[in-house]
Structures are given as structure tokens and as C-alpha cells.
């Protein structure tokens, strides 16, 4: 099965084929929708069809008496002791007013807000009965724009700054300012969410199958909401059909479905359908920036000033202020800023709540900053590459405190050689050839453009991870990690680290994760952390075990480790793209796409490339195709795959990847920086710059849909 197995000694850094593949290739994998249980019943949620309304009346009796129905629950049936779903990170006093209850109580705040759950013998019967739940809604005025919302819609506002921004702008010879929009789109994993919850009547233990991303965190939340001790709640991760930041957070269904299982005394399955997924699972990315850049006559950056509005949707969910926090923290990017001020507004609207999606807050920030830098370059008649180069941080600047912070923790870039990576990228992706290509005449009706965008990513935001390594008398090795698998190849990467450290064959290492019974604690998989923090923990445990074996101790042996790191690591990269824009149709055809990414150390380049290419496809999809569109009444009108357009193989571009390891991080023993998000992080920025270059116009918003691009082209013909 595993084709290319490197000798144990050189496993870290080898292109090892994955351990995970066999069941996924043969159809024996077990996703939550595959789970069957004796007596299992099926839940369907009744969701608000309106954006904002008071619930005047709610009649579930007709549904209760429908064929096959075993239960119908509304907010009134939930425990009086219940509290709303808590924030798990980036919280702040005052936000608690905006939390979501598992089922809407007196008002609904977005189309898709769950108001009742119907449980029946099968999904068909449950959907029949759900149609019979009668709700009277008294419409309230919906808020649909974060940048034009009434004051009471603002959940939080904060400022991140250093230096004297006002003075810098007052004295600057050159100032460029723009209002830039990033549209609402979402992670949309191909497997929608789902849960199967079951209460063991004898042990009194509640088991929830279908956990993802952060099983231990969600066990704590679920136990707290139920008022149960944690040891009576078990979360189990099965195969997971993609996460990208959205799946695995604690959602209303994560309480309601287990509660139904307890209340009804039967295993309850809920499998989200695609329409629900698009209306109920976290959205992301919708920001409006009022951003200004001050430069001197030579193009030296004097100051960056931004005020942005982050559309939070109907409630503040588990992520709290992560997205606006990340935007404000990482907007500076790879450049030196004598003065910086970012004013963030986290605003509630009557749309689906928004949370994190791959490179959260950064996809938006990179678009705003890199777009504005191109505008400045045009203003100064400077080459965009040269303007960037003049302002990049230098190797001697590291470690570099940006003067910003994440959730109060200072951002200190660990290592980097930004000019070197820029040079390597331009060389590898033949920037000069692309410039010649751009200058050469295109076919009639086509316009050529090239663009690039630089960015600094971050990885490992939660500060620790757990691992245990066991070797038995036969020499078989088990690795237990607190990390989680969302399809990224966690088992393979950790097995490589363990096998090399213990000097055992890769095949003899089994990686176990995601079961709160077998793994005592863990943080999970988000923010590109599983391989770096999780891998470091495995490295420590395996190393300790190795020493005992070398000392002559006999298996079976086990070692535990908890790797902690105060600071995040900061990989950095460059996106380069060349496009041909068709004036009449507005079609943007990608001629060449390259990503250079320095991640300190690549544990498995095969997997890293997979992460980057997959990230680019999502970033390009977001920039060209994907948009969650609401009408004037707050109705999501792209609530199906007929209107929410994921890129297919025909639209996703071939991507050239350059992985460099010039700046390993001292912040973990592997020297590795997380690689999960760089492929998406600057795609919107680079494409916008390329299209602006092709048409010689300002591009001030995404997505670059054919109609919008054609309009831009018409304005310039």
C-alpha cells in the first residue's frame, strides 16, 4: 500500500505517501453519515425563513402527531439552567450579550436560525413533519450592512496601534486611500456537518460521534451546557470530510442533538443537508476596509491606517473576535511600518453568523494591504515589486515585534528572510518572462495582467499540545495525539516524526486521535497547528522513549509529553499570478499561478504541496466564483450549489509551488511552521492586482465575477 517509504532515519522531510488513504479509497472509511445504530432516529431542524423577526406563535402539535415522529422540541423544552453557547477564544466583556442559544427563544436573527427540531423514524418522515411546524413571525427591520448599521449592532470595537499615525499622514508627501470590500463566502467542506448522539443507560455516559477539529474543547462546552461532569461525556472523531476552520466549532446542533438523545432515550442522528450547511454553518470573510497608506517621495512606507467593519452575522459564536483580531494583528504583513493604526468594528447583522475560514482575517487583510500598495505604486509610477522590496523587513530585524497583538498577546515575528523569498519567487515563476508576456499583444478582446501579493501567516495559536507514545513488546508503536484530523494528513506526518525519532519503520507506527476516552486532553486542529505543536509533542515523547530504550529498558514502555510554546510561528510567502481577461464576457483566465512559501521545515513536502494547492483553489474560488448573496430582505439567495459556485477541475488553475526552508523557527524543536493557510491567504489580493493590471483600473472589491469584470473592462475600452 504505502509506496514510497523512506528509510526510518530520513523520514522527516520525506515525500511519504499517506497512511490514511486505504479506507478512503476503498469506501470502507466511516463518516458520521455512515453510522447506524439500533433504534436510531433522525433529527431535522426547523429554521427561520426570515432574517429578523419576533416569534409570535409556535405550534408544533401537528408535527408531533405526524407519522413516524418520536419528538419535537423547541426552546421551551430545553433546560431552564441552559446558557447560550460560550466563546472559546478571543472573548471580551460585553460579547456575552450577543451569544446564540441552541434554539431561538423569542426572536430569530438570521434566515436559518433554528427554532425547533423534529425527530422521526427516518429523515424522510422527519422532513415531512418539519413542514407541519407552524411559526408566526412578526418581521423586524433587518440589518444587512456592517458598515451602515445602527450603533447597538456593534458587538465590539478595538484599536491596535503604534507610532504617531496622524503626524505621519499630516507630513507625508504621498497618501493613497481606498474603500475596499471583501465579500461573504465560506469554507463549505464537501461533507456537511453531522452528529450521532447516544446515551448509555447503564453507564450514564453520553457518546457523540462526528466530533471534529476540537473534540476535547467541545466536550468541555457540552458538559458545561448540560451541567454534567466531563467524564460522562465522550466525543469521538470519525473520518472528517474537510474542515477549513468552519467544521468542528460548537454549533447549536452540537447541544440540541445530544440533548434529544438524552430526552428521547434513543440514538439520534442529524446529518446536515447542503441547503442547511450554506445557511447554518459559519460564513466568513465579509469586511469593508477604509484603508490609507502614507509614503515619502521615495516610496518608503511612513504609516498605515485602517478602519474596518467585520460582518459578524446574527450572533457572536465560539470564535469571539478571532477574525477581526487576526485582521488587525496581521494587516502589517512583511513590511516595516513606523506608525500603524487599525480600528476594528465587529458588527452584528441579520445574516448567518460568521467565523473562521482558512487564513481568517488575513485573506481580507492581505487583499486590502496588497491592493493599496499596488495603487500607491501606480501613484508613484514605481514598479510594484520594487515598492514592496524597499519596505520589506530585513533578516537582521528578527525577532520582530510588529507592535500588534492577538487577543492581547504581542505579535513577534520569529524568523524570516523576506527579500530572499521574494527573489526566489520571482526567479522560480519567471517574473521577467511574465512581464514580457504581459507586454506582448494578446488575442483580440483579451487583456493580460500580472499581479503579486506578499503575506505573513501565523501558525499554532493555542499554545500547547499533548502526545503519548507507547511501544509494545512486539515493537508496535502507538501515538496518541491531542490533535485532530480534518483530512490534512495528520497521521502520516506524526508517524514520520515518531518513526524517525524512535528509528522504527513507518508502518509500525499507528496514530490515534479524536477520542476523548483514549486521549486525555488536546487542543485539536486549527490555525495550522496540528503538525507543528502536535508534532513537537510527539517528538518530545518519542525522544524520551528513545532514551529509555537506549538505556536498555524493555518494552512495553510509554512516554507522555505536553509541548508548550508561548509564541506563534510566522511562515511567509508570495503569490504570483498572470491572467488573461476577456473584455466581453468578463472571464478571468489564469495563465500562470505560483506560490512560494517558507515554512521553516517541511515534515512532508507531498502533504505541504497538497495543502498549498488546495488552499489556492479555495482562494481563487473565493476571488472569482463563490459569493453568499443576500437580497434586500436578508434572504440568502445563493443557498444551493447551483448558485454557490465551488471551483471545478476546469476552473481551478494548475499551481506551481516553491517550498523553502530558509527560516526555521526556534519556537519548536522541529523548526516547522504551519503550512495550512498560505495557499488561500493571498489569492484574493494577487488576483485583484493582476486583473487591475490587465484592465488598468482600480479593483476595489471581490469577487471578480464576470459581470463585474466586464463592467470594469467596458469602463476602460
Amino acid at each position: 500500500m504505502t509506496a514510497a517509504v523512506a528509510p526510518a532515519r530520513r523520514l522527516i522531510g520525506a515525500r511519504v505517501a499517506r497512511k490514511e488513504d486505504l479506507p478512503l479509497l476503498t469506501g470502507t472509511a466511516r463518516f458520521v453519515g455512515d453510522v447506524e445504530r439500533a433504534g436510531m432516529v433522525h433529527a431535522v431542524f426547523v429554521r427561520s425563513p426570515v432574517a429578523h423577526a419576533r416569534i409570535a406563535a409556535l405550534d408544533v402539535e401537528p408535527a408531533r402527531s405526524a407519522p413516524g415522529v418520536v419528538g419535537v422540541l423547541t426552546a421551551a423544552d430545553l433546560p431552564d439552567t441552559l446558557s447560550p453557547i460560550p466563546i472559546r477564544m478571543f472573548s471580551r466583556p460585553g460579547l456575552e450579550r450577543f451569544l446564540q442559544w441552541p434554539l431561538a427563544r423569542d426572536t430569530v436573527r438570521y434566515s436559518g436560525d433554528p427554532v425547533a427540531v423534529v425527530v422521526a423514524a427516518d429523515r424522510y418522515a422527519a422532513e415531512d413533519a418539519a413542514e407541519l411546524v407552524a411559526v408566526d413571525y412578526e418581521p423586524l427591520e433587518p440589518v444587512l450592512r456592517a458598515d451602515a448599521a445602527p450603533p447597538d449592532a456593534q458587538a465590539a470595537a478595538f484599536v491596535v496601534e503604534h507610532g504617531d499615525v496622524d503626524a505621519a499622514f499630516a507630513e507625508a508627501p504621498v497618501v493613497v486611500e481606498r474603500r475596499l470590500h471583501v465579500h461573504r463566502h465560506a469554507a463549505v467542506p464537501l461533507e456537511a456537518r453531522g452528529l450521532v448522539a447516544e446515551l448509555d443507560a447503564e453507564t450514564g455516559v453520553l457518546t457523540v460521534l462526528g466530533a471534529a477539529k476540537i473534540p476535547h474543547v467541545n466536550r468541555r462546552i457540552l458538559a458545561a451546557l448540560l451541567g454534567w461532569p466531563e467524564d460522562r461525556v465522550r466525543l469521538v472523531e470519525l473520518h472528517v470530510g474537510g474542515g477549513f476552520g468552519a467544521r468542528g466549532e460548537f454549533y447549536p446542533e452540537d447541544f440540541v442533538v445530544p440533548f434529544c438523545a438524552i430526552r428521547l432515550g434513543r440514538p439520534v442522528s442529524w446529518i446536515e443537508d447542503r441547503e442547511e450547511n450554506l445557511r447554518a454553518c459559519n460564513h466568513s470573510r465579509e469586511q469593508v476596509h477604509e484603508i490609507a497608506l502614507a509614503l515619502d517621495a521615495d516610496g518608503r512606507f511612513l504609516a498605515l491606517r485602517d478602519r474596518f467593519f467585520n460582518d459578524a452575522g446574527g450572533y457572536v459564536r465560539t470564535h469571539g473576535l478571532v477574525v477581526p483580531g487576526m485582521t488587525a494583528a496581521l494587516l502589517p504583513g512583511p513590511y516595516r511600518w513606523p506608525a500603524y493604526r487599525c480600528e476594528a468594528h465587529h458588527v452584528l447583522t441579520n445574516k448567518t453568523p460568521a467565523g473562521t475560514y482558512r487564513a481568517p482575517g488575513r485573506y481580507e487583510a492581505n487583499f486590502a494591504r496588497e491592493r493599496l500598495i499596488d495603487v500607491a505604486a501606480a501613484e508613484l509610477a514605481l514598479d510594484p515589486v520594487e515598492l514592496r522590496r524597499r519596505n520589506l523587513l530585513r533578516p537582521r530585524d528578527f525577532p520582530y515585534p510588529t507592535g500588534t497583538n492577538t487577543d492581547g498577546h504581542p505579535v513577534v515575528y520569529d524568523t524570516g528572510d523576506y527579500p530572499l523569498l521574494l527573489d526566489k519567487a520571482l526567479e522560480r515563476f519567471a517574473w521577467d518572462d511574465l512581464r514580457r508576456w504581459r507586454a506582448a499583444p494578446a488575442a483580440a478582446g483579451l487583456r493580460r495582467g500580472i499581479g503579486l501579493a506578499l503575506f505573513v501567516e501565523k501558525s499554532g495559536i493555542a499554545k500547547w499540545e499533548y502526545a503519548r507514545v507507547e511501544v509494545d513488546s512486539r515493537g508496535e508503536v502507538d501515538v496518541f495525539t491531542g490533535g485532530a484530523s480534518v483530512g490534512q494528513g495528520l497521521e502520516t506526518a506524526l508517524a514520520q516524526i515518531c518513526a524517525e525519532t524512535l528509528d522504527v519503520a513507518f508502518e509500525r507506527v499507528t496514530v490515534r486521535h479524536g477520542d476523548t476516552d483514549t486521549v486525555p486532553d488536546g487542543m485539536g486542529a486549527f490555525g495550522s497547528r496540528a503538525a507543528t505543536l502536535g508534532g513537537s509533542a510527539v517528538l518530545l515523547a518519542a525522544d524520551a522513549l528513545r532514551k529509555r530504550l537506549d538505556a536498555g529498558e524493555e518494552a512495553p514502555l510509554a512516554e507522555e509529553a505536553r509541548f508548550e510554546s508561548e509564541d506563534m510561528t510566522f511562515p511567509y510567502g508570495v503569490h504570483v499570478v498572470a491572467v488573461e481577461v476577456e473584455e466581453e464576457t468578463g472571464q478571468v483566465a489564469i495563465h500562470r499561478y505560483g506560490v512560494a512559501y517558507d515554512i521553516g521545515r517541511a515534515i512532508n513536502p507531498l502533504l505541504v504541496e497538497g495543502q498549498i494547492v488546495g488552499g489556492v483553489a479555495q482562494g481563487v474560488g473565493g476571488a472569482l466564483l463563490e459569493e453568499l448573496v443576500y437580497d434586500d430582505a436578508g434572504q440568502l439567495v445563493s443557498a444551493s450549489f447551483m448558485d454557490y459556485l465551488l471551483p471545478t477541475a476546469a476552473e481551478a488553475p494548475p499551481v506551481e509551488v516553491l517550498i523553502t526552508e530558509d527560516a526555521p523557527t526556534p519556537r519548536n524543536p522541529l523548526g516547522a511552521k504551519g503550512a495550512g493557510e498560505g495557499g488561500a491567504a493571498a489569492a484574493g489580493a494577487a488576483l485583484a492586482n493582476a486583473v487591475a493590471d490587465a484592465l488598468g483600473v482600480d479593483v476595489d472589491r471581490l469577487p471578480l465575477s464576470p459581470a463585474r469584470v466586464a463592467a470594469l473592462a467596458r469602463g476602460t475600452r
Binding site: G242, A649, V655
Partner: protein, 159 residues
């Protein structure tokens, strides 16, 4: 509502069921025949995750009623690998070039491509491959390695 008793041959074996006419073929395969390798990603015929072969031709099993498959022959991902425990060359190629990540879309891709390769010309260019794949959505890989796997498998299957 009336029900019907049907028999569908899946991967060479007959599966009987008494079903409502409205039962989707995808649900029959997954929950009556308990062959859960075929996944369901949208249930409106866009994502391709539920692709199976009906009498040898790839179709969307979420857009067909189970009763319509009565007496027909269906092939799913479980029927792809030869009995001897080896992998189909296509599965092997997917593994070697890392053409899957979360793997949820993979069975649909395999059933589409397997039929495609059976009738594909020898000189497969990238455009042709990408268009042949366009009826299946993947959210993880960006498709690049899937295209690569198709090339590799085509090569080996010709040899």
C-alpha cells in the same frame, strides 16, 4: 403511501428492499444495502460525490429513485478493487500522488474516472482530463494531483 419491493444488483450481488417510490437511489445504496462508500454531498446533482455506475455508466445516485434501479446493475466504489485485495490501478495512483485529502469526494471521482478511462483516447491532454472531472467537486486538493493520478493510471492501464 404505497411501497414497492425492488431488487438492485450492486457490485454483482442482488439487494432486495421494500421502499417508498420517493427513496433516492443514493439512500438505498447507503442505508438499505449498507454500502456507505458512496457519499452524498449536495442531493441536488452538483457535487458528484454520489456518483455510481449504472449499467457501466456514471450517474448521480441522488438524482435517481431507487425504484428506477429495480432490475438494473449498479457499481459502487466497494466494487472497484479486484477481489484479490489489491487496489485498482486508479486507486493505487490516487494513493501514490496524494490525490485525496479528506477523501469524501474520492469514491465519486473514482467511479467517474474509471468509466472515463475505459473510453478515453490515448493522447489525454490536461484540458480533456479536467473537463472530464468537472462533474465532481473536491474542496481539498485543488484537483492538481487528481489530474496527475488520472494520467498515471491511464498510462499504467494502457501498458
Amino acid at each position: 403511501m404505497t411501497t414497492r419491493t425492488i431488487s438492485v444488483e450492486i457490485n454483482g450481488r442482488a439487494y432486495w428492499g421494500t421502499v417508498e417510490p420517493r427513496l433516492l437511489l443514493s439512500d438505498f445504496i447507503r442505508h438499505e444495502a449498507h454500502l456507505t462508500g458512496t457519499n452524498v454531498g449536495c442531493e441536488h446533482g452538483v457535487c458528484g460525490a454520489c456518483t455510481v455506475q449504472l449499467d457501466g455508466e456514471p450517474i448521480r445516485s441522488c438524482l435517481m429513485l431507487a425504484v428506477q434501479a429495480d432490475g438494473r446493475s449498479v457499481r459502487t466504489v466497494e466494487g472497484l478493487a479486484p477481489a484479490d485485495g489489491d487496489l485498482h490501478p486508479l486507486q493505487q495512483a490516487f494513493h501514490e500522488v496524494h490525490a485525496l485529502q479528506c477523501g469524501f469526494c474520492t469514491p465519486g471521482f473514482l467511479m467517474t474516472i474509471e468509466a472515463f478511462l475505459a473510453s478515453a483516447p490515448a493522447d489525454l491532454d490536461e484540458r480533456a482530463i479536467r473537463e472530464a472531472l468537472a462533474g465532481n467537486l473536491c474542496r481539498c486538493t485543488g484537483y492538481q494531483n487528481i489530474v496527475e493520478a488520472v494520467r498515471l493510471a491511464a498510462e499504467r492501464m494502457r501498458a
